[in-house]
């Protein structure tokens, strides 16, 4: 039915009153944060997790990070040969892999550019620190984040079947 031509003021009052009843009846749209927590979607870029053994300290992520917030130090050492009689392999050992989340802008270039799939996104977001220096997550901390990395979500119908990370 055509809406009655009510003067604008009262239509406005009607809208606010209707919202008052709606909120009273079926609850507010807001989430009471500390008590109820909203789960972020699977792909949310919360924190970067490092899978240490994949990393060969090839510095690709450090070079392509726009904010230069990845600091990597490694050294070369001899690792036992793969095959029994083969020569010992020279392997890059990772000493230090820090990401400074005070500088990071969560663009995701490092995760994408890493040729060895050592970096993953995890939707974890509750890691704020009172001291800004503690935002420099070292290798161990980044390793801990690995447990929170979810499986890649399955894709919408009609998508090519190659779910990248």
């Amino acid at each position: 039915m055509a809406k009655p031509k009510v003067p604008g003021m009262f239509k406005g009052l009607g809208v606010t009153f209707a919202t008052l009843l709606a909120t009273a009846k079926n609850g507010a749209d807001t989430v009471q944060y500390p008590h109820e927590k909203e789960t972020p979607p699977i792909r949310a870029r919360g924190v970067i997790a490092l899978h240490e053994d994949n990393c060969t300290s090839c510095m690709l992520c450090a070079r392509s990070c726009p904010d230069w917030c990845i600091y990597i130090e490694g050294h070369k050492e001899l690792a036992p040969p793969r095959r029994a009689g083969g020569a010992p392999r020279k392997v890059n050992k990772l000493d230090r892999f820090d990401i400074d989340y005070a500088l990071c802008m969560y663009c995701g270039i490092c995760v994408e550019v890493c040729p060895f799939d050592a970096l993953f996104w995890s939707p974890e977001y509750e890691y704020s620190e009172p001291r800004i220096a503690d935002l420099l997550h070292d290798k161990a901390k980044l390793g801990e984040w690995m447990q929170t990395v979810p499986e890649a979500p399955e894709l919408e119908a009609g998508a090519e079947k190659k779910g990248k990370k």
Partner: protein
């Protein structure tokens, strides 16, 4: 209260202490409930959120938390307001004083009233314009361009809207035949509509135009949203209150909502029959025949009517944008005042005819 007090012939100083405590309760209690119920809860529910929920069950102690917060905040006086720091500090007290002076004349029950002025409503309207002084002083003394603009706008607006308020009240006074608020309440509850005295004769029905004008002027006196040019937060940050902090801002904040409560009480006395229910229901004929329990039920009835009126004030405040000050001045002078004059004339003619 008078009867109770006089009967036990307490020394005069003890009576005045009771009166002071009664005044505090009569002003702060409505202010507290209005702030909690409307500003915290109703506003949030109208915006599909729950409002404060942390302090106490359903956020009931939020107001005490806020008061605590403001009290422990530093009370800053701007540097270049130093020469008139005394005046700067005095401004909020003037605004709050006008509220307390206003509540003195409000009757809560047949005997439960502070004073019974013969010219009650005349005194109330005169006293309510003191707050304009406080706001102008606050705007000027803060030595800040935005509060100066806010203060000047407030001066223009509050003066402009006192006229229609006074003229609306004259309509009621003509119909009631007296300026004494107690008599106005009695007149409304003993009168009868066309012979049927089922609901007494609340002036909201016969004086409906005056009621609308009075409510609009109250909205403007409190500088609530359609008329909140003085505290236009999107332009003047918060008008004359910008430079205040700590418990001075608390006084302004409490003043704003206490005045809303007290004005709503006066409006309910003038138009909705104040503390009384139609006397015919209980077979009372005059004020002396009203039973004693009315002294306790009266304040509650007045409180309920006041909350209903404040609901309307706040409802309009939360859902309408702001008028520009030349538009609201034009609205006051060219629309409200002529209509209230016409209303006075019509009431006078009808008063003479019947």
């Amino acid at each position: 209260m008078n009867a109770v007090l006089f009967a036990s012939d307490l020394p005069y100083w003890l009576q005045s202490i009771f009166r002071v405590l009664g005044g505090l309760v009569a002003v702060l209690l409505p202010a507290g409930t209005v702030v909690y119920l409307f500003l915290f809860k109703m506003l949030s529910f109208m915006q599909s959120r729950l409002g404060p929920m942390e302090a106490g069950p359903y956020g009931s102690f939020q107001l005490f938390a806020e008061v605590g917060k403001w009290l422990q905040k530093e009370d800053i006086v701007p540097a270049n307001a130093q020469p008139e720091a005394r005046i700067f500090k005095m401004a909020p007290l003037i605004v709050l004083a006008s509220t307390f002076l206003l509540v003195v004349v409000v009757p809560f029950g047949p005997d439960a009233l502070f004073t019974d002025f013969e010219t009650g409503i005349f005194y109330a309207l005169a006293v309510s314009s003191i707050s304009v002084l406080g706001i102008l002083i606050a705007g000027w003394a803060s030595a800040n361009k935005y509060s100066l603009l806010g203060g000047l706008r407030a001066a223009g607006q509050l003066v402009a809207y006192e006229l229609p308020m006074v003229l609306a009240v004259i309509g009621v006074v003509i119909q009631a035949g007296t300026m004494n608020l107690q008599q106005i309440v009695v007149a409304q509850n003993t009168g009868s509509m066309f012979g049927w005295d089922g609901i007494g004769n609340p002036y909201v029905l016969t004086q409906f135009v005056a009621f609308i004008i009075f409510m609009i002027s109250v909205q403007a006196e409190l500088s609530q949203t359609p008329f909140d040019m003085p505290i236009a937060e999107s332009e003047l940050v918060s008008g004359y209150m910008t430079e205040y902090s700590g418990f001075r801002f608390l006084i302004f904040f409490i003043g704003e909502f206490a005045t809303a409560g007290v004005f709503a009480m006066i409006a309910s006395i003038l138009f909705l029959g104040g503390w009384g229910v139609p006397f015919a229901w209980f077979g009372w004929t005059t004020i002396d025949s009203v039973d004693n329990w009315m002294n306790f039920a009266g304040p509650l009835i007045l409180f309920a009517k006041m909350m209903a009126l404040v609901f309307f004030i706040m409802w309009i405040r939360f859902s309408s944008p702001r008028l520009r000050e030349d538009q609201l001045q034009r609205f006051a002078w060219k629309v409200l005042i002529p209509i209230s004059l016409v209303n006075i004339m019509v009431t006078a003619v009808l008063k003479v005819a019947f």
